[in-house]
């Protein structure tokens, strides 16, 4: 079974630029999560999708962050414009609808904002 795929693995941009991350979850997983992990901290949930609907986006900075999962499969997270404090690893995870505690994580995208 293929795992959660993410791209790119690394991205370096300057502040005020835009950036987008892509995630393809495990086949058949209805729930998709985006986490932000700042250096020295644990992952923090940004947004959660159930199929193509948003379940929880309470910690997503909506003035600059957006995410979509149009066909209920892969997802894109965008930051526009980026700030220095957005430097972090962005992790995508997926789970089945009935076993949502066992989340399977992708390798993450390391974003550096200069």
């Amino acid at each position: 079974e293929a795992g959660v795929a993410q791209s790119p693995r690394y991205k370096i941009i300057e502040k005020r630029q835009s950036v987008a991350f892509w995630c393809n979850p495990i086949s058949g997983h209805a729930t998709l999560y985006w986490y932000q992990q700042i250096l020295g901290q644990g992952p923090k949930l940004l947004i959660q999708f159930q199929n193509n609907g948003v379940v929880d986006d309470s910690q997503l900075p909506k003035d600059r962050f957006s995410a979509e999962r149009l066909k209920g499969v892969d997802s894109t997270l965008k930051i526009q414009p980026a700030k220095l404090e957005d430097s972090a690893v962005y992790l995508c995870a997926s789970s089945t609808r009935d076993r949502f505690l066992e989340q399977f994580f992708g390798p993450g995208t390391r974003l550096t904002v200069l």
């Binding site: 644990g42 923090k44 379940v55 929880d56 992790l91 505690l101 989340q103 399977f104 994580f105 390798p107």
Partner: protein
């Protein structure tokens, strides 16, 4: 407001000895706890969990202990192996909605020969 605290950022243990990783929490509504392990350049992977109706759960070399009155749990690894070197996160689900995991800051375990 840190609801989940892993106060030891790092731990160094000799191969074959016991590793004990600690986690403290403040929200008495947490009733399920998960441990995730993370290797460099990889995403976290689920390791072991415990429900609040239990005080111990064992899976091979890994045992998690829960002390509800102290709001404290610990992960024991016996015997420790070099391949156990990773960052370990304590992650209870948000009470009332078992979808959002609240991760601690993690403890980096180094097991040396």
């Amino acid at each position: 407001d840190q609801q989940v605290k892993q106060n030891s950022p790092s731990l160094s243990v000799q191969e074959g000895r016991i590793s004990i990783l600690n986690c403290d929490y403040t929200n008495s509504m947490f009733d399920y706890f998960l441990w995730y392990k993370k290797y460099p350049a990889e995403g976290p992977t689920f390791l072991i969990s415990i429900s609040s109706i239990k005080d111990k759960n064992e899976d091979g070399r890994f045992t998690v202990f829960l002390n509800k009155s102290a709001k404290h749990l610990s992960l024991h690894i016996v015997p420790s192996q070099p391949g156990d070197s990773a960052v370990y996160f304590c992650a209870p689900p948000w009470p009332g909605g078992y979808n959002k995991l609240i991760f601690g800051a993690g403890t980096r375990l180094a097991v040396h020969p």
